[in-house]
Amino acid sequence: MQTIRLKLREEVAVRNARIPVDASSLTPDKLFGKRESEIKAVKVWWGNREENTGELFDVSVEGEAGSAEEVKTVMEGDLSRVKHIGEGMKAGEIEANSDVDMHCGAMMAGGRITVKGNADCWAGREMRGGELIIEGDAGDNLCAMYRGEMTGMTGGRVVVGGNAGECVGQYMAGGEIVIKRNVDILAGLNMKGGKITIEGDAVMPGADMTGGEVVVKGKVLDMMPSFKFVETTTVEGEEYKKYQGDLAMTEKKAKGVLYVR
């Protein structure tokens, strides 16, 4: 195992303007095989200029890795303006020890990311595989698509310990999302596959669904007026009302399933 520690320097995080750092080049699979000095020389965008990683982060490397799977990147400091953490990563592990900024785990295909705080918008955007654990809250558009695309998350697993924002899993086609607390409006919007479990409350879930499954264990506020009640059924030992939708997409396409208590 190899552990790469990247601690964001305080002078980067705390300034008059809080200019974001683009960490997409610092995934375990991209850093695999690099010596400490080489990691420090990896280019990172900070605003409109490219800097060496070593100028923005304190870098240290422990141990050896035989493959990208054996690389763990531990990110420290105030990461609330570090974007694209773990974006596109295929293997290895990232542990982020604070709140993280947007696009954490976007387009991730494998490996594991653990965020020890909140994750801002677009975490897990277009995720294809791997595991993303957010211990705090997730922002809006969790596991959604990029603007204009018809496909969001297609695989992998995401767990949010707290609340999540609007449009969780928009255009989701596969994989699994679990939200431990509440979600804001339109969870599962345009969903066509996969499963979203919301352990708390949801507002207008399932709009324009054509497939997949949304389970709301708490209350549903503003139930969509275009879903068809199918039957009362039992899920994991609890009684749920099963709805089919969204009929606003035409009955032929309305293959989404929504379970409501």
Partner: protein
């Protein structure tokens, strides 16, 4: 001091001047081809293939619907992202590239002229604004004139002279190049969610599409126009449409051209060469179309050949785009334009695993290979409808290599062996023929050969493409690569591409035609036109015409009226 360039040791393909693969030097001074130079910068082509700059007869590169395509497809935008360089602005887009990428990517393929073939007259300023921002390429644009209420008024009254006065006025008002026809009558019908066959009456206007096409061809030939009418007929993309296509060609058979060229250019013919009655029994009718073109002299065509993959379809044929959107369920934009035209846009994926798409893919190439005379055929993909223009090199390599066609067909839906001709066609185009269908012939079809385009004779524009292959090259992959990125592209005597990279991006010129109508006819037509503005247009007569500011680099072609 004169700027001089000498291209040495190239193997030149210049069909307009009958030059077929001759080792020949080309002298350039002040942007023109000349007989000799004194103190030139020398480019050694080292036996590589040299051709005049490419001339695209039909590609949707600028204007309202192209921009609506870009605007509603950020997902396509990110697919073509490239950072700025010292010579180039930032680029984006694949099927709907930004204007800068359009200029650069064409130049890299050795193209130096592109025709934007569908300008809504009311939004003409928009098309010109984008052409201004499209670097390197010389350009022109054709206004849509077939669904216009003014046009239909005169078709109904049978007054071809007044129709000629109107088309002269609108071509001048829009700084346009000719007469474009798109689903005549059908686009007007689409304003009520309807469509028209060739012989249906247009709702409320009491004329038929057939009458519109014939009248516009006649009106166009009242002037010495460089280009014939440019026609996208009725029922594009519908199974069984080939008969209507042939009927449309036949409409203008008796019309006499004022110049040595056809009287109709039938565009993206692939979409009009369909047999069958449904998508189920859909089949290629390319042979029927090719037979007609082989036996007649009054029609030229371009291919509209398919490039497999995702693209953005866009046309003034509103009802067609709606049908397509109904099939795919993908996003759909429509924009009807008062008194004139309309447009629709929807993304589309051509897949080699789908029988219909496979046949469409075959039909475009069948047309190119079954029509014997390459001067009647232009290579296009109806960019971006059948695929983006960056797919041209794929198409060129296919047309030049039966082996490559066979290899590709083997990976595609088996319908290609049952319902298409392509697998049985052995013909391979040579470089001379490729030069005809991509520059020499297209320049002639557009009447640009008389204005320095499409050839390398004395006095021609010094637009030159040097491809990094020798004439002996048979490897389709290498041919494709060479046609995607030139060794050098020279535009107006300036090297703009070197080793596949854009090194300079000068502004292009806009070619427009001024039909010189008899003022008496114009005067007679004017009250009807002004009445339309007074009561039905939402802009005033005074604010309608395109100001000179929108054509900062003009090239005017005068078209005298035939006596």
């Amino acid at each position: 001091m004169a700027i001089e360039l000498l291209i040495k040791n190239g193997v030149v393909y210049d069909p307009i001047n009958g030059v077929n693969g001759e080792k020949k030097d080309i002298c350039i001074r002040d942007g023109k081809v000349v007989a000799e130079v004194k103190n030139p910068t020398v480019l050694d082509a080292k036996g590589r293939v040299v051709m005049p700059g490419g001339v695209d007869v039909h590609a949707h590169i600028a204007g309202g619907k192209v921009n609506s395509g870009r605007l509603f497809r950020p997902e396509d935008g990110r697919r073509g992202s490239e950072p700025k360089t010292t010579a180039c602005r930032a680029c984006s887009g694949y099927s709907v590239p930004n204007t800068f990428a359009t200029g650069y990517r064409y130049a890299k393929m050795g193209y130096t002229f592109v025709m934007e073939p569908a300008m809504p007259p009311l939004a003409a300023r928009h098309t010109h604004e984008e052409l201004i921002d499209t670097p390197i390429l010389d350009n022109a644009t054709i206004p849509l004139i077939d669904n216009n209420w003014m046009t239909m008024d005169y078709v109904k009254s049978g007054d071809i002279d007044l129709l000629a006065a109107y088309i002269a006025w609108i071509i001048k008002a829009t700084k346009g190049y000719g007469v474009k026809v798109v689903n005549p009558g059908g686009t007007e019908a689409w304003a009520w969610a309807k469509n028209c066959d060739l012989n249906d009456a247009v709702p409320h206007f009491d004329v038929t599409p057939a009458e519109i096409v014939k009248a516009l061809a006649e009106a166009n030939e009242k002037f010495e126009m460089p280009h014939s009418i440019h026609v996208h007929g009725n029922m594009l993309g519908h199974p069984g449409n080939y008969e209507m296509t042939l009927d449309t060609y036949d409409l203008v058979k008796g019309v006499k051209a004022t110049k040595d060229r056809p009287v109709m250019h039938a565009t993206h013919t692939q979409f009009f060469a369909y047999g069958g009655t449904t998508w189920g029994d859909f089949e290629s009718k390319a042979k029927a179309i090719a037979d007609y073109v082989n036996n007649n002299e009054h029609v030229s065509i371009d291919l509209g050949s398919v490039i497999l993959g995702d693209t953005t379809t866009m046309t003034a044929d509103g009802p067609m785009e709606y049908s397509l959107h109904q099939i795919t369920g993908r996003k759909w934009t429509n924009h009807d334009v008062e008194l004139e035209t309309g447009s629709g846009i929807t993304p589309f994926l051509y897949s080699g695993k789908v029988s219909v798409h496979t046949l469409q893919w075959a039909i475009g190439m069948e047309l190119a290979l079954l029509i014997k005379d390459p001067w009647k055929v232009a290579l296009t993909t109806d960019h971006p409808n059948a695929g983006p223009f960056v797919g041209y090199p794929i198409l060129i390599s296919m047309l030049m290599s039966k082996k490559r066609r066979d290899e590709s067909a083997a990976d595609m839906h088996s319908a290609i062996y049952k319902k298409a001709e392509l697998p049985s066609i052995d013909r391979e185009l040579d470089l001379y023929e490729i030069a005809i269908i991509t520059r020499a012939g297209t320049a002639k079809i557009l009447g640009l050969d008389a204005h320095g385009k499409g050839h390398l004779g004395l006095g021609a524009d010094a637009d030159v493409a040097i491809y990094d292959i020798t004439p002996e090259e048979r490897d389709a992959g290498k041919i494709q690569k060479a046609f995607l990125n030139t060794k050098y592209t020279i535009k107006g005597g300036q090297v703009v591409v070197m080793d596949g990279e854009v090194v300079a991006a000068p502004a292009g010129r806009t070619f427009f035609v001024t039909p010189e109508c008899d003022p008496k006819l114009t005067e007679e037509m004017m009250p009807n036109l002004k009445d339309k503005f007074e009561h039905y247009y939402s802009v005033t007569f005074a604010n309608y015409p395109v100001q000179d500011a929108y054509v900062p680099n003009p090239y005017e072609i005068k078209a005298p009226m035939r006596g």
